[in-house]
């Protein structure tokens, strides 16, 4: 036949070993009866390609079986790819086999191709090399299964011979005169020789890491002025099956010094200013690594370098490069060439990926707004703050720079977000406190209250307005707690004024101690409601927050004796107003801040009822004191004691009808990076609870309890637990708590890892603090001191967990020897 003759397709037949329907194969090939094609031609090869593409067939061929006139009959010959029937893995533990099947998709029924075998082999070889098994051998055999089934199937045997783990016995350097072997070995970050003392890094040999480490060796030379240092050769010596040695030949060259450093092209910043940023002087040892870091430190996005100085002030299109212009007598003159470009302004700013959260919740938090001067720092801050909202996956947040236009000086910003689950449902039941306790908790962190009556919004709950809504019910035989809270971060949508409201009710029943059953005739109810407003201020700067709240609690006692009151029947009201101001600019990571400070001061006050209600509290106080003497007098007869108790209860009811107090608190903490990642955190705090009327007295509520882990567990009485490690919980205050306290603390922190999946750091601390019963006793030098060390682990799913070991140097009240060691478990506290 002539090449490229046009034919009409006649009959198409399918031959070969296949279980697929003939028609299906023909349709899939794209050929059909009556179609006009060229032979040879594109259609035929396309059909073959398509069939290959299905990954179902092997040996695909198309033949012309017969030609009559211009009608060509075709035959498609192919055979099914064999399916994997059974897989046997030899050489590794059963528990690891599952992983291999998953990682390579070696499930029963997959089509076994050459490609599958090769990629599996490569994958495994690589995998074990990474783990240090340098001599791994992988063999894959396939055996056809012969049985009555039509489908062709194979059994696969995967033999893995990991061989012995290769460790590095020794690393030796040759040709190094100025720098010692030890120093050079230390600069190799992942390639280490065997050492029993090393825990974190193992001495396995990984080629890619080794190559990078050779670069690090040269960097160490460069940092010391040896600009010409090279690795001449390196050899890997196999000692035996288990160990290798590395021999590295270096040439050091001469040491260089910095000569003249000139800036060229700068008009926005003066030479003097840029020199101050550079912090390198003529005559310093030449260090190209340091020079590069001062120009642009790629390891730290918010470093204080020359590039960032430009980038944070609008010069997006700027570039800074250093060039060695002259080398003479080992002195290098450097030119820092700056191209400033036009200052860039944001043109449009957009957000994509917000499938649940409404625009307005996001845009109001963005610090790069249309028309504003470009600032890299603001982009970084926006990404951080969007991450802190908790609605988006902080790892997936990315700022995209679109349509950069150096001529006009504009840039578009797009923030790409990915929604994450921000709702929690807690449903639990269990035994505790002598009975069944059931808990139902719902918390929605991105709620939309305006949509609660819209049926369409329930997918599954109305979301997207950034409001928080939490509901919690807990009940057991002995008590019930209901609480509800709601907060809206931008009340009215105009200003960042957070509104919050919470409502709670607790009902506690008495317990019959003889048979541990509930006694419903005795009860203690607490009902509370709080409204708060917190406003982000712009003056003095935008790290300030002013918050106000008003709260009301009612305590109702029904034949129920608690340690709080002298009376078992009665009530007490607590209506208080709190005003606070705080400033927080700690950065960058909220779990591990490395800079900034946080201050907060607050005052909680009630109305001065005693000024208004004409009750003679002095007389009541005297009467109470008299009765107190009577009831503690061993000579009093039981009737007198009873009468005295009753009268005291009556007086206390009068005193606590409305709780009257004021409370001021102050707290400050600072974070300073003293060495690379080592952070020093000094902090201090102070609190005072006072009464307007000294005869009415300081209330038994709202008091300070110093000592221990500082976790607030059980607080019916509004108490505040103050952390002071090295002593048991609450052990440094009396049973009733103190009315004044202060605390000073110094903490040194060092991170082990700060990855998003888990942040771990160790800390050492020294602290001192105390509480006092009244102002007369107050002595800021009479403190309980302690020191110790601890560990913190933060994982997103669990929150913060920690353990601290503290040694108390002082004797706690009632004892006379130093308190000694205490262990504290820290849960969920952001310290």
């Amino acid at each position: 036949q002539n090449p490229n003759t046009k034919y009409t397709v006649g009959e198409i037949t399918v031959a070969g070993n296949t279980t697929f329907n003939e028609q299906t194969i023909i349709t899939y090939s794209g050929l059909s009866k009556g179609k006009e094609i060229y032979i040879p031609g594109e259609q035929i090869s396309n059909a073959i390609k398509k069939l290959w593409g299905s990954k179902l067939f092997n040996n695909i061929e198309i033949y012309v079986t017969n030609i009559e006139g211009n009608v060509a009959n075709l035959e498609i010959r192919l055979s099914d790819l064999p399916q994997l029937n059974d897989l046997k893995i030899n050489g590794i533990k059963r528990s690891k086999q599952e992983d291999i099947i998953k990682e390579n998709n070696l499930n029963k029924g997959v089509k076994v191709t050459e490609n599958l075998i090769t990629t599996t082999k490569n994958f495994l070889t690589k995998k074990y090399k990474k783990e240090g098994f340098y001599n791994t051998k992988i063999h894959i055999n396939t055996v056809e299964v012969k049985d009555s089934l039509k489908t062709s199937r194979v059994n696969m045997v995967l033999n893995i011979d990991k061989g012995a783990k290769v460790k590095i016995k020794d690393i030796t350097f040759f040709g190094n005169e100025v720098l010692e072997d030890k120093k050079l070995r230390a600069s190799m970050k992942s390639t280490k020789k065997k050492n029993f003392l090393r825990v974190w890094k193992r001495s396995k040999f990984i080629d890619s890491a080794y190559q990078a480490d050779l670069g690090h060796v040269i960097d160490t030379y460069k940092k010391n002025g040896y600009r010409d240092a090279r690795i001449l050769s390196d050899s890997l010596i196999v000692n035996d099956d288990k160990t290798i040695s590395l021999a590295i030949n270096v040439t050091e060259g001469e040491q260089y010094k910095f000569g003249e450093i000139n800036f060229i092209g700068n008009s926005v910043y003066s030479d003097e200013y840029l020199k101050r940023l550079l912090r390198i002087n003529k005559g310093d040892t030449y260090n190209s690594i340091l020079l590069q870091e001062r120009i642009a430190d790629n390891s730290k996005p918010d470093a204080f370098d020359i590039t960032n100085q430009y980038q944070n002030n609008g010069y997006l299109f700027s570039s800074v490069n250093s060039v060695e212009v002259n080398v003479e007598n080992h002195v290098i003159d450097t030119e820092i060439r700056i191209s400033e470009g036009k200052p860039a302004y944001f043109n449009s700013v957009s957000v994509v990926g917000n499938e649940k959260t409404n625009d307005h919740v996001i845009y109001r938090e963005i610090r790069t707004r249309p028309g504003e001067l470009y600032s890299k720092a603001n982009v970084v801050r926006t990404v951080r703050e969007l991450g802190q909202l908790g609605f988006f996956d902080a790892q997936e947040l990315s700022p995209n720079f679109l349509n950069p236009n150096p001529v006009e000086g504009t840039i578009d910003m797009e923030y790409s977000v990915k929604e994450t689950g921000s709702s929690q449902i807690e449903l639990q039941g269990g035994y505790g406190g002598g009975g069944f306790i059931g808990t139902l908790g719902l918390s929605f962190n991105n709620f939309s209250i305006k949509d609660i009556f819209k049926k369409d919004a329930y997918k599954p709950i109305p979301m997207g307005d950034g409001q928080k809504l939490a509901l919690r019910l807990q009940a057991s035989q002995f008590y019930q707690t209901y609480s509800f809270s709601f907060s809206e971060p931008w009340l009215g949508g105009k200003k960042p004024v957070q509104f919050s409201a919470s409502l709670s009710h607790t009902k506690q029943f008495g317990q019959d101690f003889t048979d541990y059953t509930v006694d419903k005739s005795r009860s203690f109810n607490i009902t509370g409601i709080t409204f708060g407003l917190a406003k982000r201020l712009s003056v003095p700067d935008d790290f300030f927050t002013l918050s106000q709240s008003i709260g009301y609690q009612r305590y109702d006692l029904n034949n129920y004796n608690t340690g709080l009151f002298e009376f078992g029947d009665g009530y007490s009201n607590n209506l208080a107003y709190t005003i606070g101001i705080s400033r927080n600019n700690t950065s960058v990571d909220p779990i591990y801040p490395t800079g900034g400070s946080s201050y907060s001061a607050s005052a909680k006050v009630t109305l001065p009822y005693s000024l208004l209600n004409n009750v003679d509290y002095e007389a009541l106080k005297n009467e109470r004191d008299e009765n107190d003497v009577i009831r503690h007098d061993t000579n009093s007869n039981p009737d007198e004691v009873l009468a005295a108790n009753e009268r005291i209860a009556e007086i206390d009811q009068e005193r606590y009808k409305w709780l009257e107090f004021y409370k001021v608190k102050f707290k400050a903490e600072w974070y300073t990076q003293i060495m690379k990642d080592l952070v020093l955190k000094p902090s201090t705090e102070f609190g005072f609870l006072g009464a307007y009327n000294n005869d009415r007295g300081v209330i038994p509520f709202e008091r300070f309890f110093v000592g221990g882990d500082g976790l607030g567990n059980y607080s019916l009485d509004g108490r505040e637990n103050v952390q002071l490690r090295g002593y048991p919980n609450n052990s440094l205050s009396g049973v009733d708590g103190g009315t004044i306290y202060n605390k000073f603390s110094l903490e040194l922190r060092y991170p082990i890892t700060l990855k998003a999946s888990a942040k771990i750091f160790v800390l050492g601390f020294a602290e001192a603090g105390a509480s006092y019963d009244n102002f007369k006793d107050y002595n800021p030098f009479d403190l309980y001191r302690s020191a110790g060390a601890g560990l913190r682990i933060f994982m997103p799913a669990f929150g913060l967990l920690g353990i601290d070991f503290g040694y108390g140097f002082d004797a706690r009240p009632g004892t006379n020897s130093p308190n000694g060691w205490e262990t504290h478990f820290i849960i969920g506290q952001q310290f």
């Binding site: 299906t24 499938e355 625009d359 028309g371």
Partner: protein, 250 residues
Amino acid sequence: CSEYQKTLKAEDISDKFKMGETLYNEGEYGKANTLFAQIVPNYRGKPQAEKLMYLYAKSFYEMGDYYVAGYQLERFASSYPKSEKKEEASYLSAKSYYELSPVYSKDQSQTTEAIDKLQEFINLFPESDYVEEANALTKELSVKLEKKAFEIAKQYNTISDYEAAIKSFDNFIFEHPGSSFQEEAHFYRLDSAYKLAINSIERKKKMRLEAAKDFYIEFKEEYADSEHIEDVEDIAIELEEELQNYSSQS
């Protein structure tokens, strides 16, 4: 219902097809869909497949499962290019994407995709009876995108970032020339410029007052009978009063 259950468990595929079709015609799309899903693999490559695939794809649409409907209908249209149902399937596929478009204040990638699909349909079947409706849907989606851009710009006005508001409205006015929000955008741009000028630091005040005045003149020319005209005139008077302070100087 028991007959349905029986057919569901039975082996005979033609019974399932028949029953599925009956259920489909009765409006029992969910049940029909379940039956169709069982037999789709069996009919692949057979002549009846065309009808089956059409009913199967359309049952997703009728059930409101627009994610799958969009895909299945599109697939039907490309698998059976000669089908008489191709036009309808293409249209309903595009409409499924339309149905997936969320409220304006959320991510609009679905909306953009829907507009593309509808436009594709209109280009492919310019004579179709559905074109009118497709145009209406496209329009509705475009308005949604305009509303999004408008509301974002307006929020800058609400949170008192007037400079960002002016820039955003500038962009809006330029990028959406035919939009029904043009008048509102012009008004809020003027409002933002006015508030920026009134609250301005002294150094920039005159410049900002003048910029606001320019916006006023532009508004007056284009929207003389706007419902905002009274507010606008009030703004103009105040701008003029403030500018008096500068006329004697310089």
